[in-house]
Assembly symmetry: C2
Homo-oligomer: 347 residues x 2
């Protein structure tokens, strides 16, 4: 089962509800783009590549639902739908990338309105299929960096659940494991939403990869003890200079890796690299509701005092100087990123 699929019998988009994993496995169905935007916002689906695919299907189902009688009218409607989807979450570039790709296809299209509807649905399916192929290519390049016996710190969830299937950074780990390499993963729990402790641990269980969950706080200590050989994470957006916007905590993790001579690799499909953005500090960082920080129970006991307040930043920016390399579907790109990425893009 993929994280997101098109159900042809019922003409709906289906997604695994990631908010209730690993305790419950449930599939939700969507028949309109407003609900898809809401699913992205409330994190039924999350992970930059997965929300890219969700946006593509959201555009396709919008086209299906709009009663436009000609292509111009349809284009206007689709632009509005694209704005709704884009507004769901600000940081990951894949969302706007997918919306733009769908709009471009609509603008370039020649044919009837009904043919356009079919064309857009096919393109959304292709974007989803491509994601899986890209991840497998990326994982193969990345797995070549992993040595037998490596202990790897992994941040957040970048697995099958963060993509259409297979995963990026976690896909590298899965590939290395399937190649028979003996590896062990320290799973950063990844506060506030704990995608590591919830989703990555659950995926590693399925794949049979040995792991231990650690608090995010502990990553530096275990690196100082020499217990870690690699650090791996994904990206929500990479700027032209190489700065990486990713799940909050990636910056502190990368700093600790750098301080201990442990290479920190960012696994990133080319579609997540935003060459139009000069530097990372220009990337909009989402601030989410305080409840994700405050509504916590440890051993059955409520933690925070009544009336406590919190700030909840969902992402941070890791400066390029701390990143050892980008693992992409076109190979591993090393610093200087801004030069080397150009060469790869031309391939």
């Amino acid at each position: 089962m993929r994280t997101i699929t098109w159900n042809d019998d019922n003409q709906v988009i289906q997604m695994i509800d990631q908010r209730i994993l690993p305790q419950e496995f449930k599939i939700l169905s969507y028949d309109n783009h407003e609900d898809v935007a809401d699913a992205i916002q409330t994190m039924v689906i999350r992970g930059a590549p997965a929300i890219g695919a969700a946006a593509a299907f959201g555009m396709a189902i919008a086209a299906k639902n709009f009663g436009a009688s000609d292509l111009d009218e349809m284009l206007t409607d689709l632009r509005n739908a694209g704005e709704t989807l884009n507004a769901a979450r600000p940081t990951a570039v894949n969302l706007s990338w997918a919306v733009r790709r769908m709009l471009k296809a609509a603008e370039d299209f020649v044919g009837s309105v009904d043919e356009l509807r079919e064309h857009l649905l096919n393109l959304a399916k292709r974007i989803a299929d491509e994601d899986v192929e890209i991840n497998k290519a990326l994982a193969t390049h990345g797995a070549a960096l992993i040595e037998d016996g490596d202990h790897i710190i992994h941040h957040c969830n970048t697995g099958a659940l963060a993509t259409v299937d297979w995963g990026t950074a976690l896909g590298v780990i899965r590939m290395a494991h399937e190649q028979g390499k003996n590896i062990h993963v320290f799973v950063d729990e990844t506060r506030p939403r704990l995608q590591g402790a919830r989703l990555t641990a659950w995926e590693l269980e399925q794949y049979g990869v040995p792991y231990d969950i650690i608090t995010d706080n502990a990553a530096g200590y275990i690196m100082r003890k020499g217990l870690v050989q690699k650090v791996l994470f994904g990206a929500d957006r990479v700027a032209a200079n190489g700065d990486v916007a990713n799940k909050i905590g990636t910056y502190m993790l990368s700093l600790a890796a750098y301080d201990n001579g442990v290479p920190a690799y960012c696994a990133v499909p080319i579609s997540t690299i935003d060459l139009e953005l000069e530097r990372g500090d220009l990337i909009p960082i989402e601030e989410r509701e305080a409840g994700e920080v405050l509504d916590l129970k440890l051993k059955g006991q409520r933690v925070t005092p009544e009336g406590a307040t919190a700030r909840n930043f969902a992402f941070d920016v890791t400066p390029y100087r701390l990143v050892a390399g980008w693992i992409t579907e076109k190979g591993v790109i090393y610093p200087p990123f801004s030069e080397n990425v150009q060469a790869v893009m031309k391939k």
Copy 2:
């Protein structure tokens, strides 16, 4: 109410049960040193200075309970009690410091066994009283570093609850607030046991100091955004070269502070400085049970998959190069620490 006191009417040691704060405020009573050791181990009482006082009272109550008929017999019994207390937690030096001070007093004592019992109880009370005086002196030196308008990141709990009363790093914040300085605290939640979100937030509520809880992961991001002027934390043990063992996450926090030019101060009573220990990596680091990491609910929902495993390191070591200064009761000590601490010790 102090964190730990002697109740003369009932001849028991009384402690605030910190495991159930801030939801419940409850006082527990102890009439033997084995239960005191257990209270330290299970974190009814925690914080290096507070467990120092607990160990002192534990030795006093052991002397009270032992039926020794002469001083030699009593000394043997007390040495055994000291071993039991020392074994409760390995990292904080205050535990063994207090046990040693109580034993030394017993060894040097001249008089009857009953007089020794009284002498040791008085010494334990004095150690507790001294802690409060030391903290207030330390806080006064530290508050001089805090400027009006400062935003301060604080790690773990170092307040009244971590000491007999008043606190160390949080005592500095409290003092600056009482001096009328306009300050705001970013409270690191401090996984795994969340002493920041539980205890520090609760204390700041009492003192009326404005604060927001953040996940530990977010500290680096808010420093990069220029939102923070100081970082403050305590210490469980400081080595002669200046390395600081403190609650897990202090190292990553200090790295981020250093990377952003934000001074990170360690508030530390002189009794926590272990000049006999050459370097921080020689400090024993406690590993606690995995349940503190795994048994978590976010928004009412269990997080980790069934059967998940975890590693749970309770402390880490921050290299001296990342620490801007030690705030002690004898003044602020700046690098080079190993030289400058000698001068202060001679005062």
